[in-house]
Symmetry: C2
Subunit: 405 residues, 2 copies
């Protein structure tokens, strides 16, 4: 049995195919490329039962990941993050079957570790020595981390406004970090010029085909954690959109294997009202989005004014009868506090946005009371200390605690 | 088969026994109490094979945990953290078989989640409504987190100097947080007076018997991850010492079950030169430690001038032919950076201290080249942003990246 059933790369827009065993970036038509597997052979050679005794990391699905050889894997044990039932929170918003897929419990504290683990492993397997990427913070931290482990040099360009802690991650892992007085699209343009000038491997979102393969494992895990009886709705905080595209891709692959049935979860793209290009395009029935001017939100990871994979996000939402919805910063910060106080789950602001969306969709009747609903929390709230207000009394050693709290 | 084989509580100093099904704190002799199980019955009713298909959380060992009923469990999916081989780092210090047990990959980003998950679950099962504790930061964050999920009110007292992010955790999870202008022993005294005055459940380190039961699961996991062929050395950053006591307890329990053989890993207590009471007592052949005056270290979690369980730490070290060793702040910060740059593993300062200790013990010949050595990284470096120096150039959108890095 092959370790990976990877077959070729395919353009989802013009359907051109490419060799998967050389370094590849965009299609000549400008679209991202997607990895395709020999799913017919995999249906014979890969069974659900085998998974049961495998280690709890995303590499348990190696047959449907792009790394050819086990020894190419660069891993810190990422994946199989907890699926946490949050019934108290759920009951308070009329969805007793509410769950959080908690991507805070992963190396680097963010789901970006998945894309980086698979992307860096495959980059190293294909001979990459230096990679470059723009980032809103967490992806840069994750790629710096896995690049260090792989012995690859990483050039990271990050907006000055990105979360401070992600700078630390890049710096301590030995990446070449640059801050830009601008947004992620400015960082992206700087990286594009650098890649062009210096021949580095472009690891920008969807400009290499393997980050999404790491992200799709969230879809495999959700299906496995629900014992292959997929939930009704998955809400995803959507910036670049690789996660939601990946989950959709994973679900389709599982259908091809015959591991799940025809019904798919409705995928919901959640954005911030200060940066909602996907929501606007979905509402207007467009196939792709327009650049969102003067975008802003405290949920920094979803401050992406125009995503390269916008058309794929919109396809995933429409093909699953999902929807797209925008929430206010104030609402999502309140949701972050409510989720922690009710359930002890300290989500990142992006993750908290999905709770606001679920509550609204339930109120509108779009989510039914008996449905099983998954909020994707893309990272730990610990990486965003500025979103929490602290007001704690200071005691002297001789002071006593008050009896009424 | 019972869900838990918990039998009674025992004083490890005077061997008095207590009922395990009422709230209990210290022995009348002043010693902490330890949970004892019916290991003879467990040897019949609990097998290694059953573990293979259980979920990857610490609750997979529920037979040897103190929670009586499955529905009492308060969980966020904690446990089964990665055991990460770090061969490049290992070869550079002459220990190719070097591993890091990475407790950063757990809810709350610190091993304290284990003690809190089990301690809070059992507290709720025993009817606790309000608990109080002093903390150097991470334990408070973890107990606040699990208390929120359990619906228990938590009163947390923390030194002003404790890591900022742990304040956020306490606050957002709805705990009553107090800061003290002093060290953890001052916080402890304030809590002791509060407990006395207001009848709260005292959740201070080792003043309730179940936190250690959560921590011991690190020992179970290390043994299971090495396929029940335990490593030669485990190095542990030692403050209150509950982790090292717990690992020793776990290993002894596994011996009683017959799951591991006679040989135990040598346990090494690693402290900071600015706070090394255990090291001093070990060197002087004492059974317990003296309060360390004016203690200080950047590794805040091991700034514990006098631990209640010091005699148990010393016993664990001596019974396994281990040792105790102190390292400088400067060395441990350098080790933190080296581990990240070599392996992409961003350890907390406490965890990084164990790397310095391993290197020194190897140089002295105490660790042999062919031994399998585990560094316990007790938490994520992300919770300690102040330990990383960042020096990143700032670009304007029109700027280009340099070609030589």
């Amino acid at each position: 049995m092959p370790f990976s059933y990877l077959q070729h790369l395919e353009c989802p827009r013009c359907h051109a195919t490419y060799n998967a065993d050389t370094q590849a970036h965009l299609c000549t038509c400008g679209s991202p490329l997607l990895a395709r597997y020999d799913l017919e052979a995999a249906r014979e050679g890969f069974t659900k039962e085998e998974l049961q005794t495998r280690e709890p990391s995303l590499w348990r699905y190696h047959e449907l990941l792009p790394v050819r050889a086990p020894e190419s894997i660069i891993t810190l044990g990422e994946g199989m993050t907890p699926l946490v039932p949050v019934p108290r929170m759920g009951e308070s918003i009329g969805i007793p079957g509410l769950y959080v897929k908690d991507e805070g419990v992963i190396p680097t504290g963010s789901f970006k570790a998945r894309g980086a683990a698979v992307g860096v492993s495959r980059a190293r397997e294909l001979g990459v020595k230096t990679l470059a990427m723009p980032t809103n913070g967490n992806a840069g931290g994750a790629w710096a981390t896995y690049s260090a482990r792989a012995g690859i040099k990483a050039v990271i360009v990050m907006p000055e406004g990105a979360p401070m802690i992600t700078r630390n991650e890049c710096a301590i892992n030995g990446a070449q970090l640059f801050l830009v007085n601008g947004l992620i699209n400015h960082a992206g343009a700087i990286v594009a010029r650098g890649v062009q000038a210096h021949g580095w491997y472009d690891a920008s979102t969807l400009k290499e085909p393997y980050r999404i393969e790491g992200k799709k494992t969230m879809g495999f895990e959700i299906a496995e954690q629900f014992h292959w009886n997929v939930p009704d709705v998955i809400l995803y905080p959507t910036g670049g959109g690789v996660g939601i595209i990946g989950i959709y891709k994973a679900l389709r692959e599982l259908q091809s294997l015959g591991w799940i049935g025809k019904r798919l979860p409705r995928l919901v793209a959640v954005q911030a009202t200060g940066c909602a290009p996907i929501v606007e395009a979905w509402r207007d029935g467009k196939l792709d989005s327009q650049l969102w001017p003067n975008s802003h939100t405290v949920a920094f990871g979803i401050n992406v004014p125009k995503a390269l994979g916008d058309f794929l996000v919109l396809e995933a939402v429409r093909a699953t009868d999902g929807c797209a919805i925008a929430v206010d910063d104030e609402e999502l910060l309140q949701a972050q506090a409510r989720l922690a106080a009710h359930e002890g789950l300290f989500a990142c602001p992006e993750g908290a946005a999905t709770l606001v969306a679920a509550e609204r969709l339930r109120a509108e009747g779009w989510i039914k009371e008996d449905e099983r609903v998954v909020l994707l929390n893309t990272g730990s709230g610990l990486k965003y200390p500025d979103t929490v207000q602290i007001d704690a009394p200071i005691l002297q050693p001789q002071d006593d605690l008050p009896g009424t709290l």
